[in-house]
């Protein structure tokens, strides 16, 4: 298995820059997600790792060796496409055997390897069936089997669950992740679905317009988004943005929104007379009646366990995730209490998050979990 290091990778298609100077590292054995909207460059990045596109510049190190300009077949990487392409005239066993047979492996070894892979995927009972009559789940498993059987250094997957229905997708996502945990194979996985990325990934790269916006664990990306794009792309509903203007000294521990002081994690840098944004996740606000910062309820959406309450505040619209038992009537004015440790501050102009004191944030979180 392998480590994949991406260094200053760039891809131009004529005048269009699909991927700009991207750098990140996929550690050995990691399940790594490339996440972003359509056209952000995630699939192009994956195709460059696979060798299906050659980069304009930059390096792709596979276990320390630069493979950026090598042919796909020389890279020892298996690609699982969105539409599982199986040979329709062959049965399951022959489909899975195919990559090994074409490598010239002996029949007995092929048989042993295919049985082993079928065991991992739980498809022993369908090995002699034609692929034509299989369910989409089994087709997906066979396609995976064909990738696994080669024992490649890494797996690349381009939205392998994109075509499946919601219920089945959730089950396959769990199955894929469990399979990864058993095999420990380095996997790079492209998706536009932030929930899928959060659920399956060890690490996530968030891309936008060909640029890597942030790279880290799901929890880091969710809790401390580096940019407003990431804050808005991750989470459903996304992070709320309350806009205000301020001059802040380094070390500031509160901001003033419409005349109300709101405590924030301690700022490491200062700004003068800038348009700023207070970022707050929907589940990090509690609704009450006594606080000073207030908003008017304009909508409620019932979601079962929770509800989304949308409020109009002097600094913008705010969506709050509250227990569905909590009363919130349209037209009512409620106070908003923010969970200080979880707040982000962004520069509205650049969209970049301002640096805050993480140690203080952690201490506050610890205090909260004891309290």
């Amino acid at each position: 298995m392998a480590e994949i290091v991406i260094r200053n990778l760039r891809k131009e298609f004529g005048a269009f820059v699909a991927v700009q100077e991207s750098s990140f590292t996929v550690a050995d054995g990691e399940f790594f997600m490339l996440l972003g909207p359509s056209g952000c460059g995630k699939t192009t990045t994956l195709r460059m790792i696979a060798g299906l596109e050659l980069p304009t510049s930059g390096q792709i190190l596979l276990d320390g060796k630069d493979v950026a300009q090598m042919r796909a077949s020389a890279r020892d990487i298996a690609f699982v496409f969105q539409m599982f392409a199986l040979y329709p005239h062959m049965n399951v066993r022959r489909n899975i055997s195919y990559p090994l047979v074409s490598q010239g492996m002996g029949r007995r070894d092929v048989r042993r390897k295919v049985d082993e892979v079928a065991g991992i995927l739980g498809i022993e009972s369908i090995l002699d069936r034609p692929v034509g009559g299989l369910s989409s789940g089994d087709r997906q498993r066979v396609a995976l089997g064909r990738a696994i059987v080669r024992e490649p250094k890494a797996f690349l997957m381009d939205e392998p669950l994109g075509a499946l229905d919601a219920e089945f997708r959730e089950r396959m996502a769990e199955e894929l992740r469990a399979l990864h945990d058993r095999m420990g194979a380095t996997t790079v996985y492209v998706t536009h679905d932030q929930l899928e990325a959060m659920q399956m990934g060890d690490k996530i790269v968030v891309m936008n317009h060909g640029v890597v916006e942030q790279w880290g664990t799901p929890q880091e990306i969710y809790d401390r988004p580096a940019t407003m794009f990431v804050a808005n792309f991750i989470g459903s509903p996304p992070m709320n943005f309350l806009r205000f203007e301020a001059t802040l000294e380094p070390g500031a521990t509160s901001v003033r929104l419409s005349g109300v002081d709101i405590p924030i994690p301690r700022l490491e840098t200062g700004v003068s007379g800038r348009e700023l944004v207070l970022g707050v996740r929907p589940e990090h606000v509690s609704l009450g009646s006594d606080g000073a910062y207030r908003g008017e309820v304009i909508a409620t959406e019932y979601l079962g366990t929770t509800q989304i309450v949308t409020l109009k505040t002097p600094n913008g619209t705010l969506r709050v995730r509250a227990p569905s038992g909590q009363p919130a009537r349209v037209g009512e004015t409620m106070s908003l209490d923010f969970n200080t440790a979880t707040l982000s501050i962004f520069d509205a102009g650049s969209g970049q998050a301002m640096k805050v004191d993480r140690a203080a944030v952690r201490a506050a979180m610890k205090e909260r979990s004891h309290g």
């Binding site: 909207p37 799901p218 989470g235 979180m365």
Partner: protein
């Protein structure tokens, strides 16, 4: 817009009964979502109403008129398919104008312009109006095909998973938009999906289908809080409702085989000891995977929970749901 009534609707394809004796009233101005897995009969029901299939039995009335023998055009319904179907040689504007220029509608030019402008704005495709349909991304093409239905004022809009091929983010935006458009227009809309979030957030009424049968019809809250069977209970809720043998806990009513526990039905810190098998951070929710006497159980916890794999946590059911051996709901005290 109009009320649509289905009575005893049945459709067979060879030996398969796709739709089995469905009776349902879609009130005027309602947003009804048909929810069910692949093969439940959702799309067939939609196609029967549109007139693209003929029922073997039963009746369909639209606005009080019996339409079973009417042609699709006579029914005045607008359908949006899962796969967009646009005229590739026409621009976006011409595609949107097309339904309004049909001999049945024949709207005046200024009216056509006005409606296209409105719809294009709502669907965020105003800047693409003069592009050829083939020069659009998949998401844009699907928005145009939704737009082609919205420019009309039919008795009912019929939509077959119109958002399933879109980006997750765009899907979330359009969910809110579609709901708003429907409410603003006072439109009657029947919408087919297997996505429970779409059903929960957009529907005024949800019809749950299972193997061609309508098994429950009600508001999202009724379906979630008061499911008639274990099948219905598993359609809504993330994480999915836990089902365990009722005998694991005391106080089960007579005849109860299964206990259904949603996260809000699990009180932590008292009751029976369970082992933490995994803490799953999803950002907006943190899932606690537990094992209770070897039975898996998923509930929610605080994002900064000190609990870790191997820890023990006590759990107790609180107002749970009970089901009999056939999966039918047992209502306590009833």
């Amino acid at each position: 817009m109009a009320e649509v009534v289905l009575s005893g609707l049945t459709k067979r394809f060879g030996a398969t009964t796709a739709v089995s004796d469905i009776s349902m009233t879609i009130p005027d101005g309602a947003f009804v979502v048909l929810l069910g897995p692949t093969g439940a009969g959702k799309t067939t029901t939609l196609r029967l109403i549109a007139g693209l299939e003929t029922p073997d039995k039963g009746n369909i009335s639209i606005g009080g008129q019996d339409v079973v023998s009417a042609s699709p055009a006579q029914r005045n319904v607008a359908m949006v398919f899962q796969q967009y179907s646009l005229y590739p040689h026409l621009t976006v504007r011409e595609n949107l104008a097309f339904p309004l220029k049909s001999p049945l509608i024949n709207a005046p030019e200024d009216e056509i312009e006005r409606r296209i402008g409105e719809v294009a704005k709502v669907l965020q495709i105003a800047h693409k109006l003069d592009n050829k349909a083939t020069a659009l991304s998949g998401g844009e093409m699907q928005r145009v095909s939704i737009g082609r239905a919205l420019v009309r004022k039919p008795h009912i809009y019929l939509m077959d998973e119109p958002l399933s091929s879109l980006d997750a983010k765009l899907r979330a935006d359009l969910r809110v938009e579609l709901k708003r458009i429907q409410a603003d227009l006072g439109a009657t809309l029947l919408y087919v999906t297997h996505d429970q979030i779409e059903a929960m957030t957009m529907a005024t009424h949800i019809g749950v289908l299972d193997k061609g049968k309508l098994v429950q019809f009600g508001s999202p809250r009724e379906i979630y809080e008061n499911p008639s069977s274990i099948y219905v209970a598993t359609r809504l809720g993330q994480p999915r409702i836990n089902t365990l043998p009722a005998s694991l806990f005391s106080n089960a009513p007579a005849g109860a085989e299964l206990i259904g526990l949603r996260p809000e039905h699990i009180r932590q810190g008292e009751g029976r000891d369970a082992t933490v098998t995994r803490v799953e951070h999803l950002g907006d929710q943190t899932r606690l995977h537990l094992s209770l006497d070897g039975h898996p159980l998923v509930t929610l916890t605080d994002a900064h929970t000190p609990l870790a794999t191997g820890d023990t946590v006590a759990v107790r059911p609180e107002n749970p749901l009970y089901f009999d051996a056939d999966g039918a709901r047992i209502v306590q005290g009833a």
